[in-house]
């Protein structure tokens, strides 16, 4: 949950993504802890009856969720790179400021002028 707090409070776009990763990882841990059975072994058939197995399904789910999380982070970082190219900043308030300036000074971008 502290990860979620970072997502909300931080103004740095990269830190927000880090917060998101922490948030997601803590949910993964929640799932993995569900699968643990005290005294249970790894879910590989031992051949003996009465063996206590841990539940493997949450691990499988989380494997999928980790892949999704990696993809999200990667895409987010790629976007931040592009944002940095376009705005020369990764701070949210600087970007907002820049956008406000842009709309005040030149509502139309130079490229659009050629059309008229």
């Amino acid at each position: 949950m502290s990860g979620l707090f970072i997502v909300i409070s931080s103004t740095n776009l990269i830190k927000k993504l880090v917060g998101l990763s922490i948030f997601q990882t803590s949910v993964f841990l929640l799932y993995i802890s569900l699968g643990k059975l005290s005294g249970g072994t790894a879910p590989i058939l031992t051949g003996e009856p009465n063996t206590l197995y841990s539940n493997p399904l949450p691990h499988v789910l989380i494997l999928t969720a980790i892949v999704v999380g990696v993809a999200t982070t990667a895409l987010g970082l790629a976007l931040v790179l592009r944002i940095n190219d376009a705005f020369e900043s990764v701070e949210e308030n600087e970007i907002t400021l820049e956008l406000a300036k842009q709309s005040e000074l030149k509502p139309m971008r130079p490229r659009d002028k050629g059309v008229e």
Binding site: L13, T64, R111
Partner: protein, 508 residues
């Protein structure tokens, strides 16, 4: 005769079952092929082909749909509750049909739009992401597995983010819009996963039907309720219900025009469908809890969304943002009708899912056409007199706009009629009066657009604008469907009632 022939080919149960999976698999498989395609028109054709196949499948499956029919497909042939299951019943069938139809039409209109707005080298990748988004959204509707739903949610969200940020070539704000959508979407999806985790901990299953039967017997109601709250909160973000709709206006406004059409028409519809699924299928055994949440949380939020969206739209001066704000209001209407939790309410919700898809799809398509002709500007001021300069597109925009306002003889009138009838049935006159007031308010922003488009003179020295048949043919098709559904909406209403029966049973 033709139906007999179709039945001969696909009437067999096994064929139908496979069709179900193919509707999702084909876009997902052809997507990567598009990415490596170097020829833009070929990539477009592949996208058109695969959305067309999905549409054909959805039509075939809808023909045989009647109350009580439930087609299932076991992925990897693992029977549920262990394996993942795809289910097609009345509710998913009509949603799939609406979404695939609009996906097909937006793809049809996208050819020239994309060629104008996206760099030549990126077009293959663009259609790749486009198909992944479509496939993910179709999967969202068909899956009957709570965790698999999360995966589809993320597939569609990540590819939508890519599509939105491709608008960066002409407006760098698209990057920020895409980033915000990514962040909010990921937080929403993670909330949903937390909820599924709690419910899974109590029931030990992820299959929706299995969950529904086990939840009433779970040992701790509190844990299940916490899980319910997390799941619903996550989905509300995806569906852009007020107050978590903030990502939507920017995302629709700065995305490439063709993407705005696709997303406005189908993306939030899938999330709303999932909301109905979660409320009425998974948690059907917990009706006191659910109705508590509906009455105290979702109905007020939906009504607030209707109001805020409408008022924001009145003050908006960017046409794409204006339409996006109006989408927030329309999403509020759909969420409101669902949360009445009566048969009339849910079927009204499905009627409006269908109608809003064609209305907003048409409006955004018309705006896309204006935008590429005018050279990328979306401010209302630039649209002065556009109705006379581009009459074919302008008239179609007018029809869809009147339909949005709910004028008789248009599709929007049918939705308003059914929503109001459903509210009347429950007897909550406060909600009814609020809905009616905001409905009148929506005329204000529509009049604002119409006045600018038709009554104001065009600016001096205006060049002759060319209208592209590849855009206005699908647009006119949508406009005609808008009128057709306003005159004769029987099949949509029957299908929506089947959907409601599939969700809450015949006696609800």
């Amino acid at each position: 005769m033709i139906t007999d022939l179709i039945h001969l080919i696909v009437g067999h149960n096994a064929v139908q079952k496979n069709l179900l999976a193919l509707a999702v698999v084909i876009p997902l498989l052809i997507g990567p092929v598009c990415v490596i395609t170097r020829v833009p028109n070929l990539a477009w054709f592949l996208a058109l082909l695969s959305t067309g196949i999905s549409l054909a499948i959805a039509v075939l499956l809808q023909i045989d749909m009647e109350p009580g029919v439930r087609l299932t497909y076991y992925l990897g042939n693992w029977p549920p509750p262990w394996g993942i299951e795809f289910v097609l019943d009345g509710a998913s069938s009509i949603t799939l049909l609406v979404m695939s139809a609009l996906a097909f039409l937006s793809t049809l209109s996208a050819k020239d739009l994309v060629a104008t707005e996206i760099a030549q080298a990126d077009i293959g990748k663009f259609y790749g992401a486009w198909l992944l988004a479509c496939g993910g959204l179709f999967g969202l509707v068909l899956t009957a597995d709570a965790f698999n739903l999360f995966v589809f949610l993320e597939i569609s969200a990540l590819s939508s983010v890519i599509l939105i940020s491709m608008g960066a070539g002409r407006d760098r704000r698209a990057l920020v819009a895409g980033y915000n959508y990514l962040l909010l979407g990921a937080v929403g999806a993670t909330f949903y996963v937390i909820g599924v985790g709690f419910v899974y901990a109590m029931t030990g299953t992820l299959n929706m039907a299995d969950l529904a039967s086990r939840i009433p017997n779970s040992s701790s109601d509190t844990v299940v309720f916490v899980g319910f709250a997390f799941m619903v909160a996550g989905i509300l973000v995806k569906a852009a219900v007020f107050p978590v709709h903030v990502w939507l206006p920017a995302a629709y406004a700065y995305a490439p025009s063709s993407v705005s059409t696709l997303l406005a028409a189908i993306a939030t519809k899938a999330a709303l469908y999932v909301l109905a699924r979660v409320l009425f299928t998974i948690f059907s055994g917990l009706s006191p809890f659910v109705s508590l949440a509906l009455d105290n949380v979702i109905i007020p939020l939906a009504v607030a969304g209707v109001f805020i969206g409408t008022v924001m739209a009145i003050y908006e001066s960017d046409i794409k943002k204006l339409l996006a704000q109006s989408s927030v209001a329309q999403i509020g209407y759909i969420a409101l009708s669902f949360s009445l939790a009566t048969k009339a309410g849910i079927s009204a919700g499905f009627v409006h899912i269908g109608n809003h898809a064609i209305i907003k799809g048409g409006l955004f398509m018309a705006v896309a056409s204006f935008v590429i002709s005018l050279g990328m500007r979306t401010n209302l001021k630039e649209l002065r007199g556009i109705g006379r300069r581009m009459p074919i597109t302008g008239v179609a925009f007018l029809i869809c706009g009147l339909s949005l306002a709910g004028l008789p003889l248009t599709a929007g009138f049918m939705s308003k009629l059914f929503i109001i009838r459903a509210i009347l049935e429950t007897g909550s006159f406060i909600v009814l009066s609020l809905v009616l007031i905001s409905s009148v308010l929506s005329l204000v922003y529509l009049w604002k657009i119409f006045e600018i488009m038709w009554m104001q003179p065009a600016p001096m020295k205006s060049p002759v604008l060319v209208e592209k048949p590849s855009v206005y043919l699908p647009l006119w098709f949508i406009a005609i469907v808008n009128i057709w559904l306003g005159v004769d909406a029987d099949w949509l209403i029957t299908a929506s009632q089947t959907a409601a029966v599939a969700l809450i049973g015949a006696d609800g």
